[in-house]
Symmetry: C2
Subunit: 340 residues, 2 copies
């Protein structure tokens, strides 16, 4: 199972996962949206050889997976596990990914850029994620000439990624700040210091399940380490705010909070039809209940993985059959009941 | 425990209880709202002697309870058990009741009329309730001169009770007719043939928990047996309609129905705060689930008694302490969890 899902990391009560991705392009080759199939395969092989090659010294067990060889359910299952982007999943012609067996390191080939190295770890492990992604980047740079400009740094298909080509992000669970109505202030403050806040499945998605993805918006004119340490600092502040909000809820609204948590728990364990959105909200309540000690005997990792397991493609992969929306709601409820 | 609550009777899946009450007044004595305390006590003793007297032949174990000797919680606990009316509970000066140990027969003294004999039985037992009430009426008539007019029959404080002085009623649980939106038609049809439909706690109360009290509106120009058999016939028709609606739901909306039932069950077993109104709706769903075989291992009688147990006075009686509204919501949830 996917590394960031099966385990929990530091600050697991609030931080679900940490991610660093590095965007790189190969010099002299058109960006992926202008690339034809034959040329696309070349870069995939270059990446594979650079990382898996005899001299790389990397102990990880990687495999190269082309989008073409996967059916839609499997492609979007990787999206739901945050290992690839929806853009790559749709790029059936030349999309490829290199993935380690732990599913903590993925290299997308021919997403928006030629190469996107990603490291995704459970809990607050931004430095660890950065170090790992950086190591992969170094391996690639030994064999590949990156498109690089003295003034702009690493060149990318979209100007927002110019410079370091780095995006660092954390996925945080902020139910108390949300419940108390403080979240808007937190998000505004994050925006003012150059951070973007998105829902769990990227730009334009709602903040389902009280989950927020916080990432740097600027990658130019700042070092990689600054990007990572800025986000780390802000995340620690947000953790502190969320913890304080939880304490305040416990003091002022304990019974209301218990009621909410246990109702959600009762619905999750009994419902016969659940949409993904409702499921995420209910799981959020139960996660909070586990964090606060209201509910015992449920591992946080189980709840984290449930968030992904109830998504459409993961659900169909689990039940090994295509399901329409109504069937998914029914099977989703079944899966949740069996898991809890 | 109260007879109609502890057991279930015929057609228990739909009919909670059957009731017959007979209104009588003593000749030559002003109606209760003009009565002074001393005179009030006289009638209570007459009733007691008539029923409990050595020659009555009645095996039932009765006791005379004056409203004055009960605190508010105990008075309204009897109201919630449908053994007395709110009017009697408020008539502390001269209100009395005679009650058998099974709590199936109660005689209210100085409610709106001097004497109101009531028999309340579980399930559809209108004839049995009528026979029992009639027997008590005969016993009283041996010793008491009833106010009677050749033209109008038994005289009562309110003209709507003139004639036979009888009101027969059933309390029915009609969740499927309600869910499918057919209930308005059923209620209209009942109205057109001279029946009144009220909520569980009488006129002006909502149809909480999908419970409907159906009773005759006319007691003049019709015999007692006709009143009882008319209501019996209509009740059998309504039972038939509700059963058909349940079958249709099972065919067309089984999963939605299961989902509703189990969600309500999950909430009942887990919530930490429940209002009486919400509790009644949730219990209604679970009752339907038990009737349809979705949920096993819960006796219908337990759910029936829960409806009464979660009412404000019963709750305070159970926990042996006065509780404000918020405390009641919390204790109600506790009681429900412990019961299920």
């Amino acid at each position: 199972m996917t590394g960031w899902l099966k385990e929990t990391g530091p600050e697991a009560d609030i931080v679900i996962s940490s991610r660093v991705r590095i965007a790189r392009n190969v010099e002299g080759v058109p960006f992926p949206h202008h690339l034809i199939e034959a040329k696309g395969g070349e870069i995939a092989n270059m990446v594979y050889d650079s990382i898996v090659g005899a001299n790389s010294g990397l102990k990880e067990d990687f495999k190269l997976i082309s989008m073409k060889e996967l059916d839609e359910i499997n492609r979007f299952n990787y999206v739901e596990k945050h290992l690839i982007s929806p853009g790559l999943a749709k790029n059936i012609d030349i999309g490829n990914m290199l993935l380690n067996s732990e599913e903590t390191i993925s290299v997308m080939i021919h997403e928006e850029d030629h190469i996107r190295i990603q490291c995704l770890l459970p809990g607050l492990q931004l430095n660890e994620a950065w170090n790992t992604a950086d190591k992969i980047d170094d391996l690639l740079e030994e064999k590949i000439n990156y498109a690089f400009d003295e003034e702009f740094g690493y060149l990318t298909a979209c100007p927002t990624n110019l410079g370091t080509g780095i995006r660092a992000s954390v996925m945080v669970h902020l139910p108390a700040l949300t419940l108390m109505g403080y979240i808007q202030g937190v998000l505004r403050a994050a925006g003012q210091i150059g951070l973007a806040v998105r829902g769990i499945y990227g730009e334009g998605t709602d903040f389902l399940g009280n989950l927020y993805q916080i990432s740097n918006q600027v990658s130019l004119g700042i070092t990689e380490k600054e990007i990572v340490s800025n986000l780390q600092d802000v995340t620690l502040q947000i953790i502190e705010k969320e913890r304080r909000a939880r304490e305040n809820l416990l003091i002022g609204k304990r019974i209301e909070l218990e009621d909410r948590v246990f109702r959600s728990y009762g619905i999750l364990k009994n419902a016969r039809k659940i949409t993904a959105n409702e499921g995420m909200q209910l799981i959020s309540d139960v996660k909070l209940g586990v964090d606060l000690g209201f509910i015992e005997g449920i591992a946080l990792g189980k709840l984290n993985s449930l968030i992904t397991m109830i998504q459409p493609a993961s659900l169909q992969k689990h039940f090994k059959t295509p399901l329409n929306a109504t069937e998914r709601d029914i099977k989703r409820a079944e899966l949740i009941r069996n898991t809890l």
